[in-house]
Symmetry: D2
């Protein structure tokens, strides 16, 4: 039984295959596309206060949702081409950060912890 991310990856694979776009979908190019979409996402929030960003009007939220969809699509496609499991990769990072950021030591503080390994 496949997960929702596997089904999305399969749809993206077929989307590229149907248009003969696989040769454009190198990791280098897909990382650029992801970065471009992340730039469009950040632009939606650039003049808002942090408080305003928590309470978006419907038109802005619709645009943000579109940008989140684009970022997700390129991220899932890039991971598929590289053979990386995104949820495993995120959990591995959280395992590291659970150890780096002791809840008592970093309570309410945004300062960066030193890296764990030399």
């Amino acid at each position: 039984m496949s997960t929702e991310l596997e089904r999305l990856a399969a749809r993206l694979r077929e989307f590229a295959r149907a248009r003969d776009w696989e040769r454009f979908h190198t990791p280098k190019n897909l990382a650029m596309a992801l970065s471009g979409e992340a730039g469009e996402l950040v632009a939606e929030f650039q003049w808002l206060t942090p408080e305003e960003s928590l309470d978006l009007d419907p038109a802005t939220l619709a645009r943000v949702r579109s940008e989140l969809g684009d970022v997700t699509a390129y991220l899932v496609r890039l991971a598929d081409v590289l053979g990386v499991d995104l949820v495993e990769a995120a959990n591995a990072r959280l395992d590291v950060n659970d150890r780096r950021y002791d809840p008592e030591l970093y309570r309410g503080s945004a300062r960066k912890a030193p890296p764990l390994d030399p």
Copy 2:
């Protein structure tokens, strides 16, 4: 029954709550964090040829996997704060692109289609 993304979102929610970091996790700030991680990802590929990016050495692949994990974590956290379903949002974008990019018309071509709606 929850999906793998819902479980990841729940872990991230608890990670922020345990450190009293919810007030840092506004959509504005999380979009910045996502954009910063996308920048680190793109930097891994900047001097590689597209062909080289398809055949990463193990050390580079491990770093890329970490960056993909970071991007995924911030993306899932941002979507959770905004109440957006990432897979639905990506599928909605693919529905649009299926109509914009006719497979016959755009076969092997990377040129951009005009937007569907005015």
Copy 3:
């Protein structure tokens, strides 16, 4: 008599030439490098409030200054490879925005103006 940006471009050209790095410095690759550095810059501000970002402590300001230097170096190098005059390009954009954003109409407002004309 050359300007300060021309002198910086000449130094970057010689830096690349001395290391036989010209073949890495394609516009595609330099745009990626610029984007990666912009990501590092944005990361410096991600957990700060807008107010805090106006009053950086000396250590943060030093890191921000380094990131600004990296962004400037890649931007000037990219423009040099493409034969674009950055100050002329910025002034051309300001000419457009002077017409798009009427000072009376947009006073104190961050909403986006519609594009002028195709």
Copy 4:
């Protein structure tokens, strides 16, 4: 006698003042705007080969020139708000990289040097 960057900074300062936009122009917000424009720039190159990016058609070059103008405008505005001299900051980075990247040792190689300081 002022330099071309100082004149551009002065024009941007007046542009913001005339619209009462200074309060939007915090370093946090301007770094986001810069990052968004860098994303638009990278998107212009995402499906091109490195070779194609060296030989842009006139329409693409015109769009790239606009994006470079936008990046320059936000970079100069951000540096002005922070009181940073961009050319000095770039030269300081080049001084560091001149020492990090020995021309003989790194000839023709894109591998990253270890940082100079611990």
